[in-house]
């Protein structure tokens, strides 16, 4: 991605962002609220079109080839994308059909077990707790076995159980064949598994490194240094 700009009515949510990521790597993006992390994810996952700049994900140029990209992309965000008046199984069946997942029945069974929701698969999503909904939405994102996953602050609102489950899932996903991009506030969780790290502030990436090259313990300070530098109360 080169020179990406995204405006919302003249407000540049993303300003001249350049970033390259090899397939199979796991990138975590840190940043304060309003930095544009969610916007970045939304552009990359084809939800929003860029205002300016070149974006290419997985060999598909956006926005023109977004259609081709979608079957390879999975998104987990704080919106669960789940239909509250359908059961878990119906939700997964629906999305499975949309993604044309083969052997859908078995796949659903496996995924539900993995996220620990088999017991409640025929309950309406409306009756789920937040943590359960998030777990189901993870299952939803994994249905079609995406090559590229975007996680937008996935740990938000998760209880301990769900948090741990998410970490386990991420561990299994991080195989080197799948590309992952995650945004988060939480430095500890963010640093745990990633290959590369970036910090986004007010629409720009101000820091980008391999995780091996940084000092984990001192990273929090690094983060505040970068954020503090550009941070203004009135912006």
């Amino acid at each position: 991605m080169k020179g990406l700009w995204k405006y919302f009515d003249h407000f540049p949510a993303i300003r001249g962002l350049d970033v390259e990521l090899e397939l199979g790597r796991f990138l975590t993006v840190f940043g304060p609220n309003g930095a544009g992390k969610t916007t970045l994810i939304r552009v990359l996952s084809t939800q929003i079109q860029p205002s300016q700049g070149e974006v290419e994900v997985g060999g598909c140029v956006l926005p023109g080839q977004a259609y081709r990209l979608r079957r390879h992309v999975g998104v987990i965000s704080h919106n669960t994308y789940l239909y509250p008046n359908l059961t878990a199984r119906e939700n997964l069946t629906f999305f499975g059909r949309m993604y044309r997942v083969p052997d859908l029945g078995d796949r659903i069974k496996t995924l539900l077990e993995e996220v620990g929701l088999s017991g409640r698969r025929d309950d309406l999503v409306r009756t789920y707790s937040r943590g359960m909904q998030q777990r189901l939405s993870i299952a939803r994102a994994l249905l079609h076995d995406p090559d590229i996953m975007f996680l937008d602050e996935p740990y938000t609102g998760l209880d301990q159980h769900a948090s741990r489950m998410l970490r386990d899932v991420l561990k299994t996903l991080h195989t080197g064949e799948r590309t992952l991009v995650m945004t988060t506030h939480n430095i500890e969780q963010g640093l745990e598994m990633c290959d590369e790290v970036a910090i986004q502030v007010r629409g720009r990436l101000v820091f980008r490194e391999n995780v091996g090259a940084i000092d984990r313990a001192g990273f929090e300070q690094t983060y505040f240094d970068h954020v503090g530098k550009d941070f203004r109360w009135d912006s």
Binding site: T46, Q47, R71, Y81, L82, P84, N85, M98
Partner: protein, 225 residues
């Protein structure tokens, strides 16, 4: 899985979800009945001019109740940002439109049928005689209404003034449909055969074809960002 069957999956999902709560359908029905009731207060039953007014009442009720239904169908997608989830799927936007269209069509048609039953009870309509021709009119009208209505509800769903703006947008564009429906059903209720209302039916068909096509083409623009 083909194009159409994916659309059907979407429609089915809407229908199942709706049947679970029955919120939308019930309010649509109730609202339709209420409109007919209120109009009724302005009309003395048994008046000779009654025949002129009856069709108007029926289709006014249909329109208002229909708009209520359209609004709620898209609001359901807004919860948990489901529409976004749907847009992430590798599915052609036109398929999404068709799916929404089918779902809305079935809801609106059912509402139309029940409202019509209520109407015929109130106005002592001879059902056996008029059922088939009126059924045809209802189907054609519902197609036109739902075709444009689904597109416009996608347009209005993100807006603050969502409920009102849908009515403002939809009703003027619906004028030919409502006119044709009212005129042709007036004819039928008066005892004419369907052929007598032929011109109006042709108009409905033309409208349906044109706007279904236009809506499919424009839906993409209505939902993308």
């Amino acid at each position: 899985m083909g194009f159409l069957s994916q659309a059907w999956v979407i429609a089915r999902k809407d229908i199942i979800g709706e049947l679970r709560t029955r919120e939308t359908v019930l309010s649509m029905l109730l609202f339709g009945f209420l409109v007919i009731l209120i109009f009724n207060f302005g009309i003395e039953p048994g008046l000779r001019e009654e025949n002129l007014v009856k069709p108007g009442v029926l289709w006014a009720a249909f329109t208002f109740a229909g708009i209520l239904g359209l609004n709620r169908s898209f609001i359901a997608e807004k919860e948990n940002d489901c529409l976004q989830g749907l847009l992430l799927c590798p599915v052609d936007r036109s398929v999404i439109y068709l799916g929404k269209f089918f779902g809305n069509f079935i809801f609106t048609l059912s509402m139309g049928l029940v409202v019509f039953l209520f109407f015929s009870v109130l106005y002592n309509v001879n059902l056996v005689q008029v059922a088939l021709p009126l059924g045809a009119i209802l189907v054609l009208t519902t197609i036109g209404f739902t075709a444009v209505g689904t597109l416009f509800s996608a347009v209005s769903v993100g807006l603050k003034t969502r409920d009102v703006i849908l009515s403002i947008l939809l009703i003027p564009v619906m004028v030919p449909v409502v006119l044709a429906a009212a005129k042709s059903s007036g004819r039928v209720l008066d005892g004419d055969s369907l052929a007598g209302a032929g011109l109006w039916l042709a108009l409905l068909v033309v409208y349906d074809v044109i706007f279904l096509t236009v809506a499919i083409m424009l839906f993409d623009y209505a939902v993308e960002e």
